[in-house]
């Protein structure tokens, strides 16, 4: 089950549409499970890693994946090989991910790229790696063509995610 938790106010219709997209992509149920508050002291560009650790008040079952949605900007990550633009963050194989609406104003305007980022981060939660296919949502998200694609997976990633979901079902 995918649980979408909002950290800022969003339009319910757009959230329902996002849930439908996630359901289509993964084949598991997806619902809006309420909202949560951003912990104080995380700064304006939010530190995604700290955010995942510190957000409280989210209820989920063991195999559930929680996708947090915020309208605020996420801080870019300093990595050994450079700076990674961050529009979302998820730890491989864990149960929480966060994506931002930035640079789009609202979900309606930037629905496709945001949904694609959502698929990407949820894919990481199901242990998918980055993909070579530019049409796939697991393609590296900082590439120029990423935001222009559809929120879909390539065959390989789709099959792998299905396999992981099947194995994860308790």
């Amino acid at each position: 089950m995918i649980r979408v938790v909002t950290l800022d106010p969003f339009d319910d219709k757009q959230l329902a549409k996002l849930n439908r997209t996630l359901y289509t992509a993964f084949g598991v149920g997806s619902e809006h499970s309420g909202s949560a508050e951003v912990p104080p002291g995380l700064g304006d560009p939010l530190d995604a890693e700290k955010l995942l650790d510190q957000v409280k008040g989210i209820r989920a079952y063991q195999d559930d994946k929680v996708l947090m949605l915020t309208a605020r900007k996420l801080k870019e990550r300093e990595l050994p090989s450079g700076v990674a633009p961050t529009q979302g963050f998820a730890r491989q194989g864990k149960d929480r991910a966060v994506i931002t609406l930035q640079p789009h104003k609202d979900l309606e305007v930037g629905f496709k790229p945001v949904a694609r980022h959502a698929l990407h981060q949820l894919g990481h939660l199901w242990e998918l790696h980055h993909c070579l296919d530019p049409r796939c949502s697991m393609y590296p998200p900082w590439t120029p063509s990423f935001s222009q694609g559809e929120p879909i997976f390539c065959t390989f990633c789709r099959e792998k995610s299905e396999q992981k979901i099947r194995l994860a079902k308790s």
Binding site: L79, S81, A84, H130
Partner: protein
């Protein structure tokens, strides 16, 4: 000998090692056990990813390719390699598969990086086949987990660090052509030799021969039936039918003329005339009683018209009359 294996003699409990094709493991025990009367020292390793346990005799550790986890300096070398322009992927799939297998088992972290880089470069030329896509995913997974272990960061950060080098931000991957991969003194894809060989095999003779055989078969099958029909028709009423082209074609074949059928060059058609050299005996030898009968029936055509036709059709005709 795989890189990093030289220091395995001082393996201790708690060390992190890399088991080829399995990933990062932690040594949980080194103890002696008696197996089949022999006392062996086993190294017990637990895979960090999922907790799977493997026991390896200490004497085999180096031979298997177990090595210590790479250090930050090795990771820097990996980034430098991934950043470099070593984009000469091998287009011979057999050679590539063999090389990649060696790299995966014996190549160390740099071997994993080479597999990832080569397959990524190859994917810029054409989509990877399923097996290589799986290999790419495995190599990437092992590389990410080892870089993550070496740098002490989360896997997602390790993967992003690798991909920032492979897919620089703001830049699209280049489209490649086969000419870029051509080595000196080789053809474009290295396939032309094979293709030419196939072409040679598939050249005119092979195209013609099977076709002629099939023609012969079909003509022999069809021709056999046709010839029998024609024979029967000739015997029964060759003049009455009055189809000049067919009669001319059949007449020389069945007329027993020795030269005409041979010129046509169709063995199945040529053979029946030889057998039909004794025309009166030929239809009996073929042993199809129903077909020789029609001439007899036709011979007594006015006497028994009911025998000719199909019973259901003939009866309504009678009733109509």
């Amino acid at each position: 000998m795989p890189e990093g294996s030289a220091s395995l003699q001082q393996l201790a409990v708690g060390d992190r090692v890399v088991y080829p094709n399995q990933g990062v493991c932690r040594v949980t025990a080194i103890d002696a056990k008696e197996v089949a009367g022999q006392k062996l020292v086993f190294v017990t390793m637990r895979r960090e990813e999922d907790g799977a346990v493997v026991m390896v005799p200490q004497a085999k550790v180096v031979a298997i390719g177990v090595r210590k986890v790479a250090g930050p300096e090795d990771v820097k070398a990996v980034f430098a390699f991934l950043r470099s322009d070593s984009d000469k992927a091998d287009l011979d799939w057999k050679q590539r598969a063999r090389t990649n297998l060696d790299r995966m088992t014996q190549g160390g972290i740099l071997g994993l990086a080479e597999v990832v880089k080569d397959l990524q470069v190859l994917s810029e030329l054409r989509p990877l086949p399923t097996k290589e896509r799986e290999l790419y995913d495995n190599a990437r997974h092992l590389l990410v987990s080892e870089v993550s272990a070496a740098l002490g960061t989360a896997e997602v950060n390790a993967e992003d660090a690798i991909d920032i080098v492979l897919f620089p931000p703001g830049r699209e991957r280049p489209k490649r052509t086969a000419a870029e991969f051509a080595r000196e003194g080789e053809d474009d894809l290295g396939l032309e030799g094979d293709l030419l060989g196939l072409d040679g095999d598939l050249d005119l003779p092979s195209d013609e021969e099977p076709a002629s055989e099939s023609d012969e078969e079909s003509s022999s099958e069809e021709g056999g039936e046709e010839s029998e029909e024609k024979e029967s028709s000739e015997e029964s009423a060759p003049k009455k039918r009055g189809r000049p082209p067919k009669a001319k074609a059949d007449a020389p074949a069945e007329g027993g003329e020795p030269a005409a059928p041979k010129k046509r060059g169709r063995p199945p058609k040529a053979k029946p005339p030889e057998a039909e050299g004794a025309e009166p005996a030929a239809p009996k030898k073929r042993g199809r009683p129903p077909k020789p009968k029609p001439p007899e029936v036709e011979g007594a055509a006015p006497a028994a018209p009911k025998k000719r036709g199909r019973p259901p059709k003939a009866k309504p005709a009678e009733t109509e009359d």
